[in-house]
Symmetry: C2
Subunit: 232 residues, 2 copies
């Protein structure tokens, strides 16, 4: 921890965002906001409620969704220090382009970018992961990583940190990632306190990832793992 810790957080939301991608990290940050001064801006294309139901989903026998309310649009949000980007089925819908454009626009001014699940695919398509090590969810691995081969995709990882960019694996990995982020930026004491408040048993090892194997990424994954050492 050097210098002042970040105060101003934003989260991008879009139709078909995954609820736990967003609210896992957010609830840890809700608790952190009782310890440190923090502001949250919920950012979307418009101020209309944003549903977890993805556009263009096939007819369903279910009517099961939740909606949250943006506080700002992509055009009106104040300067941010940390931007959270969740994933979900909507992250691969055409409507996601405005979120991709927003991530590309604000990235240079961010202290940290933090993605969950295939939110990494949004950041990747914004071009901000090019040449960086990053991970994404394991069930949709081939689709997500195939969209942007310029990224040094790391298949066996609960989360990956490259410079100021944090990417986590699928859905609940956002919880482990945000605790690691809180520990790194606000201190381990805060992270431990919050995990005890949430009664959440953290995975503290960024390389813990049974899902890479579950989804058959064992061999491909090892080939895709990169390191920073000399390689010729």
């Amino acid at each position: 921890m050097t210098g002042p810790v970040p105060v101003n957080f934003g989260i991008v939301v879009f139709p078909g965002f995954a609820a736990l991608d967003a609210f896992g990290p957010l609830d840890a940050l809700n608790a952190l906001s009782h310890m440190f001064p923090l502001n949250l801006y919920i950012v979307a294309a418009t101020l209309d409620p944003v549903s977890t139901k993805a556009p263009h989903t096939p007819a369903s026998r279910s009517d099961f969704a939740q909606s949250i309310n943006p506080t700002h649009t992509f055009g009106s949000v104040p300067p941010l220090e940390v931007l959270l980007v969740p994933g979900g089925l909507g992250a691969v819908a055409p409507e996601i382009q405005s979120a991709i454009d927003f991530v590309a626009k604000v990235h240079p001014s961010l202290k940290y970018l933090f993605t969950v699940c295939n939110g990494a695919g949004i950041a990747a398509r914004a071009g901000v992961l090019d040449g960086k090590r990053a991970t994404t969810n394991k069930m949709w691995w081939s689709h997500e990583t195939g969209q942007r081969p310029q990224v040094k995709w790391v298949s066996h990882a609960r989360w990956v940190v490259d410079g100021n960019i944090w990417t986590t694996s699928g859905v609940s990995a956002g919880l482990d990632g945000i605790f690691a982020f809180i520990a790194a930026v606000y201190g381990e004491e805060a992270a431990e306190k919050i995990s005890n408040i949430l009664e959440y048993e953290r995975h503290k090892d960024a390389s813990w990832d049974p899902y890479a194997e579950l989804y058959g990424l064992r061999d491909a994954g090892l080939l895709e793992v990169v390191d920073d050492g000399p390689r010729k």
Copy 2:
């Protein structure tokens, strides 16, 4: 599994509900709704957006909250088969009385009641846990359990099932509880598939509870544990 599985779910929300209490279980159910026909009714005192910010909280240096949108009021919601009750700081605010009254009213017609964290305190004050084994979050144990000594509070438990009532420990315990619920009601195959989609490593042992010890409930807890065997 006997007879048709539940279709109609409700969740009670109130100002100061804990985000992960609600959205952990809900996101598992979002995934379940792609496998089984499920409907969700989000129920509150009014149709106004409901914030995670609790009423009557002291002045804060932070402005960090999320709000979701009810679909029905306590007076307008259709018949429910499963009711989810999250907790949070707002569960102990005076405004919670209408939620308590709602739980008391609908409980007799439910197939299942499922509480997270101190949502159990809401159910307890509604009187529906009297004489039942139940658990709640561990950090606020004394306060929550002291409100309703007629409940057979179980201190060392990730979750507790008594008849058709499921109660879980604090916040993230709702995830383990909902997976156990899905396994019991919709089948283990669905629970395992969803946990793999969410990349969530379930605690499958309902007695796993390091937080009871962390919060000093070891001795009191053992005294408070009850069983169903003969005792005289």
